[in-house]
Structures are given as C-alpha cells and as structure tokens.
Amino acid sequence: MPEFLYAAAALVLLLTGLGLMRMLWGPSPADRLMAAQLLGTGGGAIALLIAIASGTMAIIDIALTLALLAAFAAVALTLGEPGTKTRAGEGEQ
C-alpha cells in the first residue's frame, strides 16, 4: 500500500506541476494565482498521502497549515491592486 500512495503523491505533484504552465502563460495575475492555488491544494493532498504512506503523522500538520492559509494568496492579490489604500489620508472610511 505505501508504494501505491507514494506513486499517487508523485502523480499529484506531476499534475499540479503541469498546472504551473498557467503561471507562465497568464495572461492576468489572477490566472497565475490560480496555478499557485492549484499547487496549494495539490500540496495538501501530497502531504496527506506521504503522511499515511510513511506513517509520519506530523506531516498531516503541513496539510493543515496549507489548508488554513490556502486563501491568503487570493486575499493578498487585492492588496497589490492599483488604488488599494495604503497611504496616509486615503485610509479613512
């Protein structure tokens, strides 16, 4: 069984890695971010597969951390937009 799970982890890495073509192609930052998002979910799946395959339960915590912070890149994207308030005087409601 561990061999199968390791192979599955390798395949998830390969598949989500292929998705990174979208990071190269774009065209918009949103498209590039989607590739990162896909890799985040895939990374969680890889962590869970390896955790069970190797019996190293601590690796589950990596998937937990990735899951908890999965939406942060998408939140951060709006920070980098032109017109986002970051300077004095503009920040008031």
Partner: protein
C-alpha cells in the same frame, strides 16, 4: 477485510487523481479566467476530498481520520472564499459583460 479496505483506498485515491487531472486540464484548456476558476475550485477540491476519503481506512486512529476530514472542510471553505475573491478581482480588472 483489509483487502477490501485496501481496494477501496486504491479506487478512491485513483478517482481523486482523475479529478486533479481534470482540474489541470480545465485550468489549461478553458478559454477565460472565470471559467478556469470553476475548474480550479470544483475539480481539485473533489480530488482532495476523494484522496481524504481513500486515506480514512488507512488512518492509524480515529483522531487522525477526523483531522483529515477537518482539513478537507477547511480547504472547501478556503477554496470557496478564494474563488470568489479571484472572480471579483477578474471582474474589476477585465472589462467583461
């Protein structure tokens, strides 16, 4: 019994891989950003869900099984939030319909 559980794991994890493939294919093939977002959230959330389901019988104890399910729920919620945030970003930055 263990053979049945192992077969269950192999089948569900393989199905999960199919949906990760679908997510990647959709992300690369679909014509515009909003359509690609559908592929991103729905296909790979299901992919992760099936992998979690397949790993449940292999968990050494009940708490780690529950932990896996909790991770899947967190990813669902994060995916739902992230896809809406990215969709709103796309709408603002691309003159759409």
């Amino acid at each position: 019994m263990s053979v049945v559980l192992d077969a269950f794991t192999v089948i569900t994890v393989t199905a999960g891989l199919v949906f990760f493939l679908a997510g990647t294919v959709g992300l690369l093939r679909f014509p515009d950003a909003l359509t690609r977002l559908h592929a991103l959230t729905k296909a790979d959330n299901l992919g992760l869900g099936l992998i979690v389901l397949g790993l449940l019988p292999q968990c050494p104890d009940i708490t780690s099984a529950l932990k896996l399910i909790a991770i899947w729920v967190l990813v669902q919620f994060a995916g739902a939030s992230a896809s809406q945030l990215i969709a709103q970003f796309v709408r603002r930055n691309e003159p759409g319909p």
